[in-house]
Assembly symmetry: C2
Homo-oligomer: 267 residues x 2
């Protein structure tokens, strides 16, 4: 995994965060600090944090919680001690009452002592594992964003939070589907094994060429669509609840932890 | 797994719960409805539920959450739809301000709309798997309670909740230790793989013959002490926080779900 042409050769999560904190990196984080776990961010007021944590407990495949900060603390003490979630992500989105109102490069002006930050596993970690196991990942090959679909499957609701499961789709050669299941299944903290294989209609998906989010990708003869639970689910569900304030990372602009991908392996 | 001499041949979790609800079973539940997941119960006021759920998220090995009920609802809709946690456990313990004040056979008189029930995985499920894999479980052989020890390892605190990790110890023949790790590791929802193998002193345990809870068991030549995170941890930690009200199952008197042990296997 050599550095991309225009990706500086930062080698650790800490180095990447320092570069971001100093304003030297405002772009997506794919390829930065290879091998380090990158995480989705959802920040909510403390009064909604219980329902959101409960939603995650009831829907662990789309909402794998890596860490929850203490209310008011911007430091993820377990996954990146010393980090500051107000400054160490290249780009944030601020939602008020469910509407995107602003995109910012730090949270110094909006952070308050009642905010709780959730770090959720993202698919980068298991995609690295798929590639290392010889399973092709089409959207990476094609330089696109992964295909994402709203499904007809409802998440288990919790308090203020409810909504449909969002999935990612990766076309996998039929003979490699078992390998893809096994390899991703080792990583439950980053969505784990697929939730469905081979029948888009059973998920209420009628056209794989028209994803609800992200880009379409080529599906070749002999390839089977494989569906994983997607980290967009909790963001979509939280937005639907129209909280007075919600903050997320901007798409693709993730938080980079000190954890190594392989440290998340369950077996 | 034939029924014990004095264990009636109830075959499902539902049958066992009905027998308990009707007052026909007030004893420990080991051996009832073999193959069905049995769970620890912790009930707390809603205002403490977030900290407790966060403690569980930060300490998943001692606190594997199977289900959390909606505040006020005594029905675990996901693991045992139709069940009533106020009546379907043979014996309960009621703690006020951290002190055991009463042991009761139902919760009708104490249940209030602000209570939240947590069902936590227990070791029965992985012990069944160990036995089926040919790994001996000494305290079962000797008809005793498992040996439990307070350790010098601190759990990750969360809000009101903090305290030491409690572990169970099972002596395993050295050649079977890898098998014991692999077999129990398939079941993260019921404590999963051991947290330590072979060095009691590293956990601050100085005499395996004097457990802090439960009974001592025989350790034979060639056997290694293997330590698993224990479900007594969250109860001890919750009690230490001296909540105005906490309700648990009485030791050994578990809640029997509709889930099959094997349905918890992660791989």
């Amino acid at each position: 995994m050599g550095a991309h042409q225009d990706v500086p050769s930062v080698t650790t999560g800490l180095e990447a965060r320092m570069m971001i904190r100093q304003g030297q990196w405002r772009r997506p984080t794919a390829g930065l600090a290879p091998g380090y776990v990158q995480a989705n961010l959802v920040v909510l007021p403390r009064e909604l944090a219980y329902d959101f944590l409960l939603f995650a407990q009831r829907n662990p495949k789309p909402c794998p919680v890596l860490e929850v900060t203490d209310a008011g603390s911007p430091e993820p003490r377990l996954s990146a001690p010393g980090a500051d979630l107000r400054t160490d992500i290249p780009r944030y989105r601020i939602y008020r009452d469910g509407n995107l109102v602003e995109e910012v490069t730090d949270l110094k002006a909006v952070w308050t002592p009642d905010l709780v930050a959730f770090l959720l596993g993202c698919s980068f970690s298991f995609e690295t594992a798929l590639l290392q196991a010889g399973v092709p990942v089409r959207h990476i090959e094609e330089g696109r964003n992964v295909s994402m679909f709203l499904t007809s499957v409802a998440c288990v609701p919790a308090g203020a939070f409810s909504g449909p499961l969002v999935v990612t789709m990766r076309p996998i050669p039929a003979a490699l589907v078992p390998r893809a299941v096994q390899v991703s299944g080792r990583f439950p903290a980053v969505h784990g094994a697929p939730i469905h294989v081979g029948d888009p209609a059973a998920l209420g998906i009628h056209d794989l060429g028209k994803p609800d989010f992200g880009d379409p990708v080529t599906i070749r003869n002999g390839e089977v669509p494989v569906f994983w639970a997607c980290g967009v689910t909790p963001q979509a569900v939280a937005m639907h609840a129209k909280p007075p304030l919600m903050i997320t990372h901007a798409p693709g602009h993730m938080f980079i932890t000190d954890l190594r991908d392989e440290s998340l392996a369950a077996c």
